[in-house]
Amino acid sequence: MTASTDTGLDGLPPVEPFRPTLRERVSGWAFYIPIVFMVLFFALPMALTVVFSVFERTMFWMEPGFTLLAYENFFFSARLENFLASMGYSLISVVVSFCLGFPIAVFVRKSVPQAAQHRVVLLFILPFMVSEIIRIFALRPVLQRNGLVNETLLSLGLIDEPITALLYTHTGVIIGEVLSFMPFIVFSGFLAMEAVPKYIFEVCDDLGAGPVRRFTDVILPLAAPGIFAGAVFIFVNGIGVALIPNIMGGPGAVNAGLIATQAITALDFPLAMAVSAIMMATLMGLLYVGHKLFDLTKILAPMN
Protein backbone atom coordinates (compact mmCIF):
# COMPACT_ATOMS: atom_id res chain seq x y z
CA MET A 1 0.00 0.00 0.00
CA THR A 2 1.43 3.32 -0.99
CA ALA A 3 1.21 6.51 0.96
CA SER A 4 -0.91 8.10 -1.71
CA THR A 5 -3.72 5.58 -1.39
CA ASP A 6 -3.66 5.01 2.37
CA THR A 7 -6.11 7.26 4.17
CA GLY A 8 -6.44 5.21 7.34
CA LEU A 9 -9.63 7.09 8.13
CA ASP A 10 -12.67 4.99 8.96
CA GLY A 11 -12.86 3.19 5.66
CA LEU A 12 -13.21 6.33 3.56
CA PRO A 13 -12.18 5.84 -0.05
CA PRO A 14 -8.49 6.45 -0.63
CA VAL A 15 -7.56 9.96 -1.68
CA GLU A 16 -5.45 10.21 -4.78
CA PRO A 17 -3.37 13.37 -5.15
CA PHE A 18 -4.74 15.10 -8.24
CA ARG A 19 -2.53 15.29 -11.27
CA PRO A 20 -3.44 17.68 -14.08
CA THR A 21 -4.39 15.95 -17.31
CA LEU A 22 -2.77 16.89 -20.60
CA ARG A 23 -5.88 18.92 -21.47
CA GLU A 24 -5.65 20.77 -18.20
CA ARG A 25 -1.97 21.45 -18.69
CA VAL A 26 -2.70 22.88 -22.14
CA SER A 27 -5.62 24.96 -20.83
CA GLY A 28 -3.29 26.20 -18.07
CA TRP A 29 -1.63 28.28 -20.75
CA ALA A 30 -4.85 30.30 -20.95
CA PHE A 31 -3.73 32.06 -17.77
CA TYR A 32 -0.95 33.67 -19.78
CA ILE A 33 -3.39 35.28 -22.26
CA PRO A 34 -3.81 38.57 -20.32
CA ILE A 35 -0.06 38.76 -19.74
CA VAL A 36 0.72 38.20 -23.42
CA PHE A 37 -1.99 40.70 -24.40
CA MET A 38 -0.59 43.39 -22.12
CA VAL A 39 2.98 42.76 -23.28
CA LEU A 40 1.94 42.96 -26.95
CA PHE A 41 -0.45 45.90 -26.79
CA PHE A 42 0.75 47.90 -23.81
CA ALA A 43 4.40 47.25 -22.94
CA LEU A 44 5.57 46.86 -26.54
CA PRO A 45 3.92 50.05 -27.90
CA MET A 46 5.22 52.01 -24.91
CA ALA A 47 8.73 50.63 -25.40
CA LEU A 48 8.57 51.32 -29.14
CA THR A 49 7.85 54.99 -28.51
CA VAL A 50 11.61 55.35 -27.95
CA VAL A 51 12.35 53.74 -31.32
CA PHE A 52 9.73 55.78 -33.19
CA SER A 53 10.91 58.99 -31.53
CA VAL A 54 14.24 58.81 -33.41
CA PHE A 55 12.60 58.06 -36.78
CA GLU A 56 12.76 60.73 -39.46
CA ARG A 57 9.68 62.82 -40.04
CA THR A 58 8.11 62.77 -43.51
CA MET A 59 5.32 64.94 -44.86
CA PHE A 60 2.46 62.87 -43.43
CA TRP A 61 4.17 60.10 -41.48
CA MET A 62 7.73 58.99 -40.59
CA GLU A 63 10.35 56.60 -41.88
CA PRO A 64 13.02 54.46 -40.21
CA GLY A 65 16.25 56.32 -39.52
CA PHE A 66 18.08 57.91 -36.65
CA THR A 67 17.65 61.55 -35.73
CA LEU A 68 17.37 63.37 -32.44
CA LEU A 69 15.47 66.22 -34.05
CA ALA A 70 12.28 65.46 -32.10
CA TYR A 71 14.18 65.68 -28.81
CA GLU A 72 15.85 68.90 -29.97
CA ASN A 73 12.38 70.24 -30.79
CA PHE A 74 11.31 69.40 -27.30
CA PHE A 75 14.32 70.36 -25.18
CA PHE A 76 15.36 73.51 -27.04
CA SER A 77 11.99 75.22 -27.26
CA ALA A 78 9.26 76.60 -25.06
CA ARG A 79 7.91 73.04 -24.80
CA LEU A 80 10.46 72.14 -22.13
CA GLU A 81 9.54 75.25 -20.16
CA ASN A 82 5.85 74.33 -20.43
CA PHE A 83 6.57 70.76 -19.45
CA LEU A 84 8.53 71.82 -16.36
CA ALA A 85 5.85 74.35 -15.44
CA SER A 86 3.13 71.69 -15.77
CA MET A 87 5.22 69.45 -13.49
CA GLY A 88 5.16 72.24 -10.90
CA TYR A 89 1.40 72.66 -11.18
CA SER A 90 0.88 68.91 -11.01
CA LEU A 91 2.94 68.84 -7.84
CA ILE A 92 0.62 71.46 -6.35
CA SER A 93 -2.36 69.30 -7.42
CA VAL A 94 -0.78 66.33 -5.63
CA VAL A 95 -0.32 68.32 -2.42
CA VAL A 96 -3.86 69.76 -2.52
CA SER A 97 -5.35 66.34 -3.32
CA PHE A 98 -3.40 64.79 -0.47
CA CYS A 99 -4.50 67.45 2.02
CA LEU A 100 -8.16 67.11 0.99
CA GLY A 101 -8.36 63.38 0.27
CA PHE A 102 -6.04 61.50 2.57
CA PRO A 103 -7.81 62.47 5.83
CA ILE A 104 -10.90 60.80 4.33
CA ALA A 105 -8.98 57.53 3.86
CA VAL A 106 -7.79 57.67 7.48
CA PHE A 107 -11.27 58.54 8.77
CA VAL A 108 -12.91 55.68 6.86
CA ARG A 109 -10.34 53.15 8.07
CA LYS A 110 -10.32 54.38 11.66
CA SER A 111 -13.90 55.37 12.42
CA VAL A 112 -16.29 53.78 9.93
CA PRO A 113 -17.59 50.29 10.86
CA GLN A 114 -15.63 47.56 9.08
CA ALA A 115 -18.62 46.22 7.10
CA ALA A 116 -19.37 49.65 5.61
CA GLN A 117 -15.81 50.77 4.80
CA HIS A 118 -15.67 49.50 1.22
CA ARG A 119 -19.09 50.94 0.47
CA VAL A 120 -18.07 54.38 1.72
CA VAL A 121 -14.94 54.30 -0.43
CA LEU A 122 -17.09 53.25 -3.39
CA LEU A 123 -18.92 56.59 -3.08
CA PHE A 124 -15.81 58.18 -4.55
CA ILE A 125 -16.21 56.02 -7.65
CA LEU A 126 -19.51 57.71 -8.51
CA PRO A 127 -17.92 60.77 -10.18
CA PHE A 128 -16.02 58.42 -12.51
CA MET A 129 -19.31 57.03 -13.73
CA VAL A 130 -19.79 60.27 -15.64
CA SER A 131 -17.68 61.19 -18.63
CA GLU A 132 -14.61 63.19 -17.69
CA ILE A 133 -15.24 65.58 -20.55
CA ILE A 134 -18.71 66.38 -19.21
CA ARG A 135 -17.43 66.85 -15.67
CA ILE A 136 -14.61 69.15 -16.76
CA PHE A 137 -16.77 71.08 -19.18
CA ALA A 138 -19.51 71.56 -16.58
CA LEU A 139 -16.98 73.20 -14.25
CA ARG A 140 -16.82 76.23 -16.51
CA PRO A 141 -20.19 77.74 -15.56
CA VAL A 142 -19.44 76.97 -11.92
CA LEU A 143 -16.09 78.76 -11.88
CA GLN A 144 -16.48 81.52 -14.45
CA ARG A 145 -16.70 85.26 -13.63
CA ASN A 146 -20.47 85.22 -13.16
CA GLY A 147 -20.55 81.55 -12.16
CA LEU A 148 -21.94 79.77 -9.16
CA VAL A 149 -18.86 80.21 -6.93
CA ASN A 150 -18.47 83.95 -7.55
CA GLU A 151 -22.21 84.61 -7.26
CA THR A 152 -22.33 82.77 -3.94
CA LEU A 153 -19.28 84.53 -2.50
CA LEU A 154 -20.58 87.93 -3.64
CA SER A 155 -24.02 87.36 -2.18
CA LEU A 156 -22.46 86.28 1.12
CA GLY A 157 -20.39 89.48 1.10
CA LEU A 158 -17.12 87.56 1.32
CA ILE A 159 -15.71 89.25 -1.80
CA ASP A 160 -16.34 92.64 -3.43
CA GLU A 161 -15.37 91.67 -6.97
CA PRO A 162 -15.62 88.35 -8.80
CA ILE A 163 -12.49 86.21 -8.65
CA THR A 164 -11.26 85.81 -12.22
CA ALA A 165 -8.39 83.45 -11.46
CA LEU A 166 -10.62 80.39 -11.11
CA LEU A 167 -10.88 79.72 -14.84
CA TYR A 168 -8.62 79.98 -17.90
CA THR A 169 -5.59 80.18 -15.62
CA HIS A 170 -3.16 77.72 -14.07
CA THR A 171 -5.34 77.80 -10.96
CA GLY A 172 -8.20 76.53 -13.11
CA VAL A 173 -5.99 73.67 -14.32
CA ILE A 174 -5.11 72.77 -10.72
CA ILE A 175 -8.80 72.84 -9.72
CA GLY A 176 -9.62 70.58 -12.68
CA GLU A 177 -6.83 68.15 -11.80
CA VAL A 178 -7.80 67.99 -8.13
CA LEU A 179 -11.47 67.38 -8.91
CA SER A 180 -10.58 64.75 -11.50
CA PHE A 181 -7.90 62.78 -9.70
CA MET A 182 -8.35 63.31 -5.95
CA PRO A 183 -10.43 60.12 -5.47
CA PHE A 184 -7.32 58.11 -6.35
CA ILE A 185 -5.53 59.29 -3.23
CA VAL A 186 -8.59 58.19 -1.25
CA PHE A 187 -8.54 54.73 -2.92
CA SER A 188 -4.83 54.06 -2.71
CA GLY A 189 -4.57 55.64 0.75
CA PHE A 190 -7.42 53.46 1.98
CA LEU A 191 -5.92 50.33 0.41
CA ALA A 192 -2.64 51.02 2.22
CA MET A 193 -4.48 51.81 5.46
CA GLU A 194 -6.35 48.50 5.14
CA ALA A 195 -3.09 46.71 5.72
CA VAL A 196 -2.74 48.61 9.03
CA PRO A 197 -4.44 46.75 11.91
CA LYS A 198 -7.17 48.85 13.49
CA TYR A 199 -5.82 48.29 17.01
CA ILE A 200 -2.81 50.44 16.10
CA PHE A 201 -5.06 53.49 16.46
CA GLU A 202 -6.22 52.33 19.88
CA VAL A 203 -2.63 51.68 20.95
CA CYS A 204 -1.70 55.22 19.90
CA ASP A 205 -4.64 56.61 21.86
CA ASP A 206 -3.77 54.50 24.90
CA LEU A 207 -0.17 55.65 24.82
CA GLY A 208 -1.28 59.26 24.70
CA ALA A 209 -0.10 60.18 21.21
CA GLY A 210 -1.75 63.36 19.97
CA PRO A 211 -3.32 63.58 16.50
CA VAL A 212 -0.21 65.17 14.95
CA ARG A 213 2.20 62.65 16.47
CA ARG A 214 -0.06 59.77 15.53
CA PHE A 215 -0.25 61.05 11.96
CA THR A 216 3.46 61.75 11.43
CA ASP A 217 4.97 58.85 13.39
CA VAL A 218 2.47 56.07 12.74
CA ILE A 219 -0.07 56.66 9.96
CA LEU A 220 2.20 58.38 7.45
CA PRO A 221 4.99 55.76 7.48
CA LEU A 222 2.52 52.85 7.37
CA ALA A 223 0.44 54.32 4.54
CA ALA A 224 3.44 55.65 2.60
CA PRO A 225 3.23 53.11 -0.28
CA GLY A 226 -0.43 53.96 -0.91
CA ILE A 227 0.14 57.70 -0.65
CA PHE A 228 3.05 57.43 -3.06
CA ALA A 229 1.05 55.38 -5.59
CA GLY A 230 -1.83 57.87 -5.46
CA ALA A 231 0.59 60.78 -5.76
CA VAL A 232 2.29 59.25 -8.81
CA PHE A 233 -1.08 58.69 -10.43
CA ILE A 234 -2.11 62.32 -9.91
CA PHE A 235 1.28 63.69 -10.90
CA VAL A 236 1.65 61.68 -14.10
CA ASN A 237 -1.93 62.32 -15.20
CA GLY A 238 -1.57 65.98 -14.28
CA ILE A 239 1.27 66.42 -16.72
CA GLY A 240 -0.23 64.05 -19.30
CA VAL A 241 -3.96 64.70 -19.64
CA ALA A 242 -4.52 67.22 -22.42
CA LEU A 243 -8.21 67.68 -21.75
CA ILE A 244 -7.84 69.71 -18.54
CA PRO A 245 -5.45 72.44 -19.74
CA ASN A 246 -7.42 72.53 -22.98
CA ILE A 247 -10.71 73.33 -21.25
CA MET A 248 -9.73 74.88 -17.90
CA GLY A 249 -6.46 76.60 -18.72
CA GLY A 250 -5.68 79.78 -20.56
CA PRO A 251 -3.50 80.05 -23.64
CA GLY A 252 -0.35 79.52 -21.54
CA ALA A 253 -1.55 76.28 -19.98
CA VAL A 254 0.23 73.47 -21.80
CA ASN A 255 1.30 70.04 -20.62
CA ALA A 256 2.88 66.93 -22.09
CA GLY A 257 -0.45 65.47 -23.16
CA LEU A 258 -1.34 68.63 -25.02
CA ILE A 259 2.10 68.79 -26.66
CA ALA A 260 1.65 65.17 -27.83
CA THR A 261 -1.86 65.71 -29.21
CA GLN A 262 -0.83 68.96 -30.89
CA ALA A 263 2.12 67.13 -32.46
CA ILE A 264 -0.22 64.43 -33.81
CA THR A 265 -2.57 67.09 -35.20
CA ALA A 266 0.45 68.70 -36.89
CA LEU A 267 1.45 65.21 -38.18
CA ASP A 268 4.76 65.44 -36.28
CA PHE A 269 4.65 61.85 -35.05
CA PRO A 270 8.32 61.62 -33.93
CA LEU A 271 7.74 64.60 -31.61
CA ALA A 272 4.60 62.95 -30.15
CA MET A 273 6.65 59.80 -29.58
CA ALA A 274 9.51 61.77 -28.00
CA VAL A 275 7.05 63.34 -25.53
CA SER A 276 5.61 59.88 -24.81
CA ALA A 277 9.09 58.48 -24.25
CA ILE A 278 9.95 61.33 -21.86
CA MET A 279 6.72 60.73 -19.95
CA MET A 280 7.45 57.00 -19.76
CA ALA A 281 10.97 57.71 -18.46
CA THR A 282 9.50 60.08 -15.85
CA LEU A 283 6.98 57.45 -14.75
CA MET A 284 9.53 54.64 -14.64
CA GLY A 285 11.92 56.80 -12.65
CA LEU A 286 9.21 57.71 -10.14
CA LEU A 287 8.00 54.12 -9.75
CA TYR A 288 11.56 52.83 -9.35
CA VAL A 289 12.33 55.37 -6.64
CA GLY A 290 8.98 54.69 -4.97
CA HIS A 291 9.48 50.94 -5.03
CA LYS A 292 12.98 51.27 -3.56
CA LEU A 293 11.71 53.55 -0.81
CA PHE A 294 8.36 51.99 0.08
CA ASP A 295 7.96 48.54 -1.57
CA LEU A 296 4.84 49.31 -3.57
CA THR A 297 3.60 45.70 -3.48
CA LYS A 298 2.56 46.39 0.11
CA ILE A 299 -0.46 48.27 -1.25
CA LEU A 300 -1.85 45.00 -2.55
CA ALA A 301 -0.94 43.14 0.65
CA PRO A 302 -4.59 42.59 1.66
CA MET A 303 -5.19 40.84 -1.68
CA ASN A 304 -2.18 38.55 -1.68
Binding site: F31, M129, G240, M280
Partner: protein
Protein backbone atom coordinates in the same frame (compact mmCIF):
# COMPACT_ATOMS: atom_id res chain seq x y z
CA UNK B 1 -8.59 61.08 20.92
CA UNK B 2 -11.34 58.67 19.95
CA UNK B 3 -13.72 60.06 17.35
CA UNK B 4 -16.73 58.81 19.28
CA UNK B 5 -15.60 60.68 22.44
CA UNK B 6 -16.78 63.82 20.66
CA UNK B 7 -19.84 63.03 18.62
CA UNK B 8 -19.80 66.44 16.94
CA UNK B 9 -16.25 65.92 15.72
CA UNK B 10 -17.30 62.57 14.33
CA UNK B 11 -20.31 64.14 12.60
CA UNK B 12 -18.13 66.95 11.24
CA UNK B 13 -15.84 64.37 9.65
CA UNK B 14 -18.81 62.63 8.02
CA UNK B 15 -20.07 66.01 6.82
CA UNK B 16 -16.65 66.77 5.32
CA UNK B 17 -16.59 63.40 3.53
CA UNK B 18 -20.05 63.95 2.06
CA UNK B 19 -19.18 67.53 1.12
CA UNK B 20 -16.20 66.30 -0.89
CA UNK B 21 -18.36 63.67 -2.64
CA UNK B 22 -20.98 66.36 -3.38
CA UNK B 23 -18.28 68.72 -4.73
CA UNK B 24 -16.92 65.98 -6.99
CA UNK B 25 -20.44 65.27 -8.20
CA UNK B 26 -21.46 68.92 -8.62
CA UNK B 27 -20.64 69.12 -12.36
CA UNK B 28 -22.81 66.05 -12.91
CA UNK B 29 -25.70 67.60 -11.01
CA UNK B 30 -25.22 70.76 -13.03
CA UNK B 31 -25.56 68.85 -16.32
CA UNK B 32 -28.74 67.22 -15.00
CA UNK B 33 -30.08 70.65 -14.00
CA UNK B 34 -29.35 72.10 -17.44
CA UNK B 35 -30.99 69.14 -19.16
CA UNK B 36 -34.34 70.21 -17.67
CA UNK B 37 -34.09 73.81 -18.90
CA UNK B 38 -36.41 74.71 -21.77
CA UNK B 39 -34.01 77.53 -22.78
CA UNK B 40 -30.89 75.40 -22.76
CA UNK B 41 -27.37 76.03 -21.55
CA UNK B 42 -26.35 79.55 -20.48
CA UNK B 43 -29.84 81.03 -20.76
CA UNK B 44 -30.66 83.89 -18.40
CA UNK B 45 -34.07 82.47 -17.62
CA UNK B 46 -34.69 78.93 -16.35
CA UNK B 47 -37.88 77.23 -17.43
CA UNK B 48 -38.45 73.62 -16.41
CA UNK B 49 -39.12 71.06 -19.15
CA UNK B 50 -38.72 67.37 -19.87
CA UNK B 51 -38.93 68.00 -23.61
CA UNK B 52 -35.26 67.30 -24.34
CA UNK B 53 -35.59 63.81 -22.90
CA UNK B 54 -38.39 63.13 -25.34
CA UNK B 55 -36.22 64.26 -28.24
CA UNK B 56 -33.03 62.32 -27.51
CA UNK B 57 -34.17 59.22 -29.37
CA UNK B 58 -34.94 61.24 -32.48
CA UNK B 59 -31.39 62.62 -32.72
CA UNK B 60 -29.99 60.41 -35.48
CA UNK B 61 -26.34 61.32 -34.97
CA UNK B 62 -26.49 60.74 -31.23
CA UNK B 63 -28.36 57.43 -31.59
CA UNK B 64 -25.89 56.12 -34.19
CA UNK B 65 -23.01 57.11 -31.89
CA UNK B 66 -24.75 55.42 -28.98
CA UNK B 67 -25.07 52.18 -30.96
CA UNK B 68 -21.34 52.20 -31.72
CA UNK B 69 -20.55 52.89 -28.07
CA UNK B 70 -22.85 50.08 -26.96
CA UNK B 71 -21.13 47.69 -29.38
CA UNK B 72 -17.72 48.74 -28.09
CA UNK B 73 -18.80 48.44 -24.45
CA UNK B 74 -20.30 44.96 -24.88
CA UNK B 75 -17.33 43.63 -26.86
CA UNK B 76 -14.81 45.13 -24.46
CA UNK B 77 -16.64 43.74 -21.44
CA UNK B 78 -16.89 40.26 -22.96
CA UNK B 79 -13.13 40.26 -23.50
CA UNK B 80 -11.92 42.23 -20.48
CA UNK B 81 -13.74 40.31 -17.73
CA UNK B 82 -12.46 36.81 -18.63
CA UNK B 83 -8.97 38.28 -19.06
CA UNK B 84 -9.13 40.07 -15.70
CA UNK B 85 -10.36 36.85 -14.11
CA UNK B 86 -7.51 34.85 -15.62
CA UNK B 87 -5.06 37.57 -14.61
CA UNK B 88 -6.33 37.61 -11.01
CA UNK B 89 -6.03 33.81 -10.76
CA UNK B 90 -2.57 33.97 -12.34
CA UNK B 91 -1.56 36.68 -9.85
CA UNK B 92 -2.70 34.55 -6.91
CA UNK B 93 -0.70 31.57 -8.15
CA UNK B 94 2.50 33.17 -9.43
CA UNK B 95 5.58 34.07 -7.46
CA UNK B 96 6.39 36.95 -9.83
CA UNK B 97 3.70 39.15 -8.26
CA UNK B 98 5.59 42.42 -8.73
CA UNK B 99 5.98 41.93 -12.48
CA UNK B 100 2.36 40.84 -12.97
CA UNK B 101 0.88 43.63 -10.89
CA UNK B 102 3.10 46.21 -12.56
CA UNK B 103 2.10 45.06 -16.05
CA UNK B 104 -1.61 45.04 -15.24
CA UNK B 105 -1.80 48.25 -13.23
CA UNK B 106 0.72 50.33 -15.19
CA UNK B 107 -1.94 51.64 -17.67
CA UNK B 108 -3.47 53.51 -14.73
CA UNK B 109 -0.27 55.48 -14.37
CA UNK B 110 0.18 56.36 -18.04
CA UNK B 111 -1.72 59.48 -19.05
CA UNK B 112 -4.44 58.62 -21.60
CA UNK B 113 -3.17 61.08 -24.20
CA UNK B 114 0.32 59.62 -24.05
CA UNK B 115 -0.88 56.01 -24.21
CA UNK B 116 -3.26 56.81 -27.06
CA UNK B 117 -0.51 58.51 -29.03
CA UNK B 118 1.77 55.50 -28.51
CA UNK B 119 -0.97 53.05 -29.55
CA UNK B 120 -1.95 55.13 -32.58
CA UNK B 121 1.59 55.14 -33.94
CA UNK B 122 2.07 51.47 -33.00
CA UNK B 123 -1.07 50.34 -34.85
CA UNK B 124 -0.26 52.42 -37.90
CA UNK B 125 3.22 50.89 -38.07
CA UNK B 126 1.96 47.36 -37.48
CA UNK B 127 -0.68 47.86 -40.17
CA UNK B 128 1.96 49.10 -42.61
CA UNK B 129 4.12 46.08 -41.77
CA UNK B 130 1.23 43.67 -42.41
CA UNK B 131 0.43 45.42 -45.69
CA UNK B 132 4.07 45.10 -46.71
CA UNK B 133 4.05 41.40 -45.76
CA UNK B 134 0.78 40.93 -47.67
CA UNK B 135 2.23 42.63 -50.74
CA UNK B 136 5.35 40.47 -50.52
CA UNK B 137 3.24 37.30 -50.20
CA UNK B 138 0.68 38.45 -52.78
CA UNK B 139 -2.27 38.29 -50.36
CA UNK B 140 -4.61 40.99 -49.09
CA UNK B 141 -6.41 39.45 -46.10
CA UNK B 142 -3.91 40.92 -43.59
CA UNK B 143 -4.33 44.48 -44.83
CA UNK B 144 -7.08 45.40 -42.40
CA UNK B 145 -5.99 43.50 -39.30
CA UNK B 146 -4.66 46.55 -37.51
CA UNK B 147 -6.28 49.33 -39.51
CA UNK B 148 -7.77 51.92 -37.14
CA UNK B 149 -11.35 50.95 -36.41
CA UNK B 150 -13.49 48.87 -34.11
CA UNK B 151 -10.74 46.32 -33.32
CA UNK B 152 -8.06 48.86 -32.41
CA UNK B 153 -10.55 50.79 -30.26
CA UNK B 154 -11.49 47.61 -28.40
CA UNK B 155 -7.80 46.91 -27.75
CA UNK B 156 -7.34 50.46 -26.40
CA UNK B 157 -10.43 50.08 -24.20
CA UNK B 158 -9.29 46.71 -22.84
CA UNK B 159 -5.96 48.26 -21.81
CA UNK B 160 -7.91 51.08 -20.15
CA UNK B 161 -10.43 48.89 -18.30
CA UNK B 162 -8.40 45.82 -17.36
CA UNK B 163 -6.65 47.41 -14.33
CA UNK B 164 -10.02 48.36 -12.79
CA UNK B 165 -11.58 44.94 -13.48
CA UNK B 166 -8.44 43.17 -12.24
CA UNK B 167 -8.42 45.05 -8.91
CA UNK B 168 -12.17 44.59 -8.30
CA UNK B 169 -11.99 40.83 -9.00
CA UNK B 170 -8.79 40.48 -6.97
CA UNK B 171 -10.42 42.15 -3.95
CA UNK B 172 -13.33 39.67 -4.12
CA UNK B 173 -10.93 36.76 -4.57
CA UNK B 174 -9.03 37.87 -1.46
CA UNK B 175 -11.89 36.50 0.64
CA UNK B 176 -11.90 33.11 -1.12
CA UNK B 177 -10.18 30.22 0.60
CA UNK B 178 -8.24 28.25 -2.04
CA UNK B 179 -8.33 25.08 0.09
CA UNK B 180 -11.92 24.71 -1.14
CA UNK B 181 -10.68 24.30 -4.70
CA UNK B 182 -8.05 21.82 -3.54
CA UNK B 183 -10.72 19.84 -1.70
CA UNK B 184 -12.92 19.81 -4.82
CA UNK B 185 -9.99 18.66 -6.95
CA UNK B 186 -9.13 15.95 -4.43
CA UNK B 187 -12.75 14.75 -4.72
CA UNK B 188 -12.27 14.33 -8.44
CA UNK B 189 -13.64 17.60 -9.85
CA UNK B 190 -11.97 19.01 -12.95
CA UNK B 191 -10.31 22.43 -12.73
CA UNK B 192 -13.20 24.02 -14.60
CA UNK B 193 -15.86 22.34 -12.45
CA UNK B 194 -14.07 23.34 -9.23
CA UNK B 195 -13.99 26.91 -10.48
CA UNK B 196 -17.57 27.05 -11.76
CA UNK B 197 -19.28 25.23 -8.88
CA UNK B 198 -17.17 26.29 -5.91
CA UNK B 199 -15.17 29.45 -6.61
CA UNK B 200 -17.30 31.42 -9.05
CA UNK B 201 -20.44 31.62 -6.84
CA UNK B 202 -18.26 33.23 -4.16
CA UNK B 203 -16.67 35.80 -6.45
CA UNK B 204 -19.74 36.40 -8.62
CA UNK B 205 -20.47 39.80 -7.04
CA UNK B 206 -16.96 41.00 -7.90
CA UNK B 207 -17.25 39.74 -11.48
CA UNK B 208 -20.60 41.48 -11.98
CA UNK B 209 -19.30 44.70 -10.41
CA UNK B 210 -16.24 44.59 -12.67
CA UNK B 211 -18.53 44.06 -15.68
CA UNK B 212 -20.66 47.06 -14.70
CA UNK B 213 -17.54 49.22 -14.23
CA UNK B 214 -16.20 48.15 -17.62
CA UNK B 215 -19.41 49.01 -19.47
CA UNK B 216 -19.62 52.41 -17.76
CA UNK B 217 -15.94 53.21 -18.33
CA UNK B 218 -16.36 52.40 -22.04
CA UNK B 219 -19.34 54.73 -22.26
CA UNK B 220 -17.41 57.61 -20.69
CA UNK B 221 -14.01 57.18 -22.33
CA UNK B 222 -12.94 59.78 -24.82
CA UNK B 223 -9.20 60.11 -25.44
CA UNK B 224 -8.30 56.57 -26.50
CA UNK B 225 -11.53 56.13 -28.44
CA UNK B 226 -11.13 59.35 -30.41
CA UNK B 227 -7.59 58.51 -31.53
CA UNK B 228 -8.07 54.79 -32.24
CA UNK B 229 -11.62 54.63 -33.63
CA UNK B 230 -11.01 55.28 -37.31
CA UNK B 231 -14.14 56.37 -39.17
CA UNK B 232 -17.10 56.06 -36.80
CA UNK B 233 -18.36 58.32 -34.00
CA UNK B 234 -18.99 57.35 -30.41
CA UNK B 235 -21.15 58.99 -27.77
CA UNK B 236 -18.30 60.96 -26.20
CA UNK B 237 -16.68 61.97 -29.48
CA UNK B 238 -20.00 63.44 -30.64
CA UNK B 239 -20.35 65.34 -27.35
CA UNK B 240 -16.82 66.71 -27.51
CA UNK B 241 -17.19 67.69 -31.11
CA UNK B 242 -20.40 69.56 -30.24
CA UNK B 243 -18.83 71.21 -27.19
CA UNK B 244 -15.79 72.46 -29.04
CA UNK B 245 -17.60 73.52 -32.20
CA UNK B 246 -21.21 74.66 -32.05
CA UNK B 247 -21.89 73.95 -28.36
CA UNK B 248 -23.75 70.98 -26.96
CA UNK B 249 -27.36 70.54 -28.01
CA UNK B 250 -30.07 70.31 -25.37
CA UNK B 251 -30.63 66.67 -26.38
CA UNK B 252 -26.94 65.99 -25.68
CA UNK B 253 -27.31 67.38 -22.15
CA UNK B 254 -30.39 65.20 -21.69
CA UNK B 255 -28.58 62.15 -23.07
CA UNK B 256 -25.51 62.81 -20.87
CA UNK B 257 -27.75 63.16 -17.88
CA UNK B 258 -29.65 59.99 -18.83
CA UNK B 259 -26.45 57.94 -19.17
CA UNK B 260 -25.08 59.43 -15.92
CA UNK B 261 -28.22 58.52 -14.00
CA UNK B 262 -28.11 54.93 -15.33
CA UNK B 263 -24.42 54.64 -14.41
CA UNK B 264 -24.89 56.06 -10.93
CA UNK B 265 -28.00 53.93 -10.35
CA UNK B 266 -26.11 50.83 -11.44
CA UNK B 267 -23.18 51.44 -9.11
CA UNK B 268 -25.48 52.67 -6.33
CA UNK B 269 -27.52 49.48 -6.81
CA UNK B 270 -24.41 47.34 -6.51
CA UNK B 271 -23.40 49.17 -3.31
CA UNK B 272 -26.87 48.76 -1.76
CA UNK B 273 -27.19 45.13 -2.91
CA UNK B 274 -23.81 44.10 -1.48
CA UNK B 275 -24.58 45.98 1.74
CA UNK B 276 -27.93 44.19 2.19
CA UNK B 277 -26.36 40.85 1.25
CA UNK B 278 -23.50 41.19 3.73
CA UNK B 279 -25.93 42.20 6.47
CA UNK B 280 -28.16 39.21 5.71
CA UNK B 281 -25.11 36.92 5.77
CA UNK B 282 -24.03 38.42 9.10
CA UNK B 283 -27.53 37.87 10.53
CA UNK B 284 -27.46 34.26 9.34
CA UNK B 285 -23.98 33.62 10.71
CA UNK B 286 -24.53 35.22 14.10
CA UNK B 287 -26.57 32.39 15.73
CA UNK B 288 -23.93 29.89 14.59
CA UNK B 289 -20.99 31.96 15.81
CA UNK B 290 -22.62 33.06 19.05
CA UNK B 291 -25.38 30.54 19.93
CA UNK B 292 -25.85 31.95 23.43
CA UNK B 293 -26.87 35.35 22.13
CA UNK B 294 -29.45 34.03 19.66
CA UNK B 295 -33.07 34.80 20.53
CA UNK B 296 -34.98 31.85 21.98
Amino acid sequence: MDDYANIWLHRAKWAYLLLIVATLMSPVFYVMYISFNENGFGAAEYEFTTRWYGLIFSDGQLMAALRWTLGLAVTTTLLTIPMALLAAKFYKATRAKVAVVFLLLAPLFVAPDILSAALLVFFKNVNLSFQWLGDAAGVTFMDSWFRLGFGTTVIGLIIYTIPYAFVVILITMGRYNKEQTEAARACGATGWRAFWDIEFPQIRAGVFSASAFTVILCFNEYTRTSLLKGGFDTFTTVLVSQMLNEGMSEQSYAMSSFVSVIAIALIGGIIVFTLLRSEAAARKAQPVAEPNTAPA
